[in-house]
Symmetry: D5
Amino acid sequence: MLYLVHMIVNIPATLAPEEAARIKADEKAYSQQLQHAGRWPHLWRVVGEYANYSVFDVDSNDELHDTLSKLPLFPFMKITVTPLAKHPSSIV
Amino acid sequence: MLYLVHMIVNIPATLAPEEAARIKADEKAYSQQLQHAGRWPHLWRVVGEYANYSVFDVDSNDELHDTLSKLPLFPFMKITVTPLAKHPSSIV
Amino acid sequence: MLYLVHMIVNIPATLAPEEAARIKADEKAYSQQLQHAGRWPHLWRVVGEYANYSVFDVDSNDELHDTLSKLPLFPFMKITVTPLAKHPSSIV
Amino acid sequence: MLYLVHMIVNIPATLAPEEAARIKADEKAYSQQLQHAGRWPHLWRVVGEYANYSVFDVDSNDELHDTLSKLPLFPFMKITVTPLAKHPSSIV
Amino acid sequence: MLYLVHMIVNIPATLAPEEAARIKADEKAYSQQLQHAGRWPHLWRVVGEYANYSVFDVDSNDELHDTLSKLPLFPFMKITVTPLAKHPSSIV
Amino acid sequence: MLYLVHMIVNIPATLAPEEAARIKADEKAYSQQLQHAGRWPHLWRVVGEYANYSVFDVDSNDELHDTLSKLPLFPFMKITVTPLAKHPSSIV
Amino acid sequence: MLYLVHMIVNIPATLAPEEAARIKADEKAYSQQLQHAGRWPHLWRVVGEYANYSVFDVDSNDELHDTLSKLPLFPFMKITVTPLAKHPSSIV
Amino acid sequence: MLYLVHMIVNIPATLAPEEAARIKADEKAYSQQLQHAGRWPHLWRVVGEYANYSVFDVDSNDELHDTLSKLPLFPFMKITVTPLAKHPSSIV
Amino acid sequence: MLYLVHMIVNIPATLAPEEAARIKADEKAYSQQLQHAGRWPHLWRVVGEYANYSVFDVDSNDELHDTLSKLPLFPFMKITVTPLAKHPSSIV
Amino acid sequence: MLYLVHMIVNIPATLAPEEAARIKADEKAYSQQLQHAGRWPHLWRVVGEYANYSVFDVDSNDELHDTLSKLPLFPFMKITVTPLAKHPSSIV
């Protein structure tokens, strides 16, 4: 089941640089693990912004919230979720 | 080169039903031709709305505008385009 | 799986009154059938508006879109869907 | 009498973690007491956000404000209240 | 129980002038009947707009929706309802 | 001459609690003095928010600004002013 | 007493051109009469828009609403009113 | 003196196609005459929209309004004007 | 050449009171010098807000930006500029 | 390939003035290097704001994001990107 997820990152200036670097590394590792598992099939950077559009493929709303809330950057992101359905003109 | 495209369809009640049906059929055919050509790799319905989120893969801004402005439903849609870039954490 | 759905109804003045009455009667029948089936567990009127907040309980995004797009008033509504998850403080 | 209540939580980074933990524990206890009393019949997490949609069942506007303003997280939340009425198509 | 109600009137140009005049006369009569009954204690014109801010004093959300939806101008108004509570600094 | 005034209070966490308490006490005293003088005839709490809707009855725009800018909480409030006129359907 | 008034004009295409021309001529005459009387001291066109920013100098909110609602273009305008006060740095 | 101008075109379905075609041809001729005269140095299509971003080079606000209000499509456009100044880092 | 300028002041609580007082005094002096020179013909307080609406009379966009960016409060203001043109109904 | 880019700068008061000055100098140098290379053909100040509108000429979305994310002021800017296409009426 697919969802379009928009994430805007906003790391406060008060966060120590090493701490920020550690969180970003954790985020990358967690993200790639989900991508390899097929749960996060698309991850694109929004041009000019510290933001991304992603597509998640999960079994339920609960699984999606569980997945997103475990993102190391979760406390520093504004996330918007749009549920997607099959389009009648899609050839997939 | 990828772009996220959001399309909201709003067909006026004054359009004759047969005309609307013809335009929608043309739209479907045109859309599927672009999908088969690899120019429109993703097409998803937004749940609960007469709208879609799509990803286009084209060579330039000009090609994208040319492609979108030829959509049979173009005069009846509000379209928003977001250019996408490779994300540093993406495994693709 | 639960979703909060906000529906704003806007029937154009150009729709014949009998036609509008027929559509509303169909909407009521369809809505009550879904309520009895447990798919539409909550339906509330927004005070002062021709709008409602509803909760749907369905198996997937596709089922929700299929259900909503079959609403007889669908062409005359602006619908917004918010996916819901279990809250850690909920006793249910 | 029912109200839909939307709460967005925003705990400032300047709040000490232990203090934040204590407030959240108090919030959970207070919330569950109101749920058991039938005053807070529904509490759902918004997927991807530190936010909830809730339904309250109280006797008056004054009781609702009194209840909400006593939430331990009240100083850290943006709350929006929508009064609900019985829907003519509801089977309840 | 008090509610602040904001009403913006928008009568379509397609409505026949006599019909519009009749609806406005009905609205005035209905409004004054509710004012005399103490249900609509305040009714103010917003300067420069075909709009008003009103205060209603009713027993429940249901009564308020019932009252507002019977306004002869209801189909031509955008209404927003804000529930009010006693303010701790109020001398009333 | 009447004005609807909407005030949203936002006291920064950096303000010392005793200082905040003193300002709130001053605000209450000042508010009640204006209410007794008939300048602030209505003061209502917005349910669920640290905000109020008020009606002021003053002789001029200048008097209103002078009155509002002397509120002890003025530096911590977002204020919106809507001038009101007599409504032709009002019985007052 | 001064007010900044923003007017956006939107004449529907369904209005007969001669009728529109007559209303605009009436508007101009009425506007110039108020300007000569000192009630409408400033009238500026917003560059690129069928809109104006104006300053009115009247004795009360009621007089302003009375004046604005008599504008021949009133039914075709969106009007926003901002009450103005003397600025402490103004040399006037 | 430069201004960034954003134009969104919205031709109503009620306009006869030949009339619309004639207006668009006039618009193109008028636009190219201004471009050749150096008054409209940049004209770009917004990808996916019936809209453009333009830069005008004129001597005054009055000249810009005069120029824009003579656009044959002026009655069918929403125009927003942003005055531009020399940037201290610009090499031009 | 006239421009309507809207300025919203927001002085951060972290600025030392004496520093803030000095900046405000500088702002007042600079403002009055521009008023005496005829460059800032109107300066009005927005009722209830720490904001003003002003009219500037300058020779170019560059002069306006130069003038505004030298305001001592410039770093603490949100400024919006609207270019104005002569209105065909204005008697001035 | 052209893009309109809107940048709003917001340097936090907590940044040391020398650090801010160094970043601005780096920004200017980097900007002028890109202008000389033809990648940043237009750079205009928005009158009254610490913001600019720019036009970039790059080969791809990826190049644009790479270019923008290397701006020394990138962490302190809100950037919005609008892809541009050739306009059919443009003489260029």
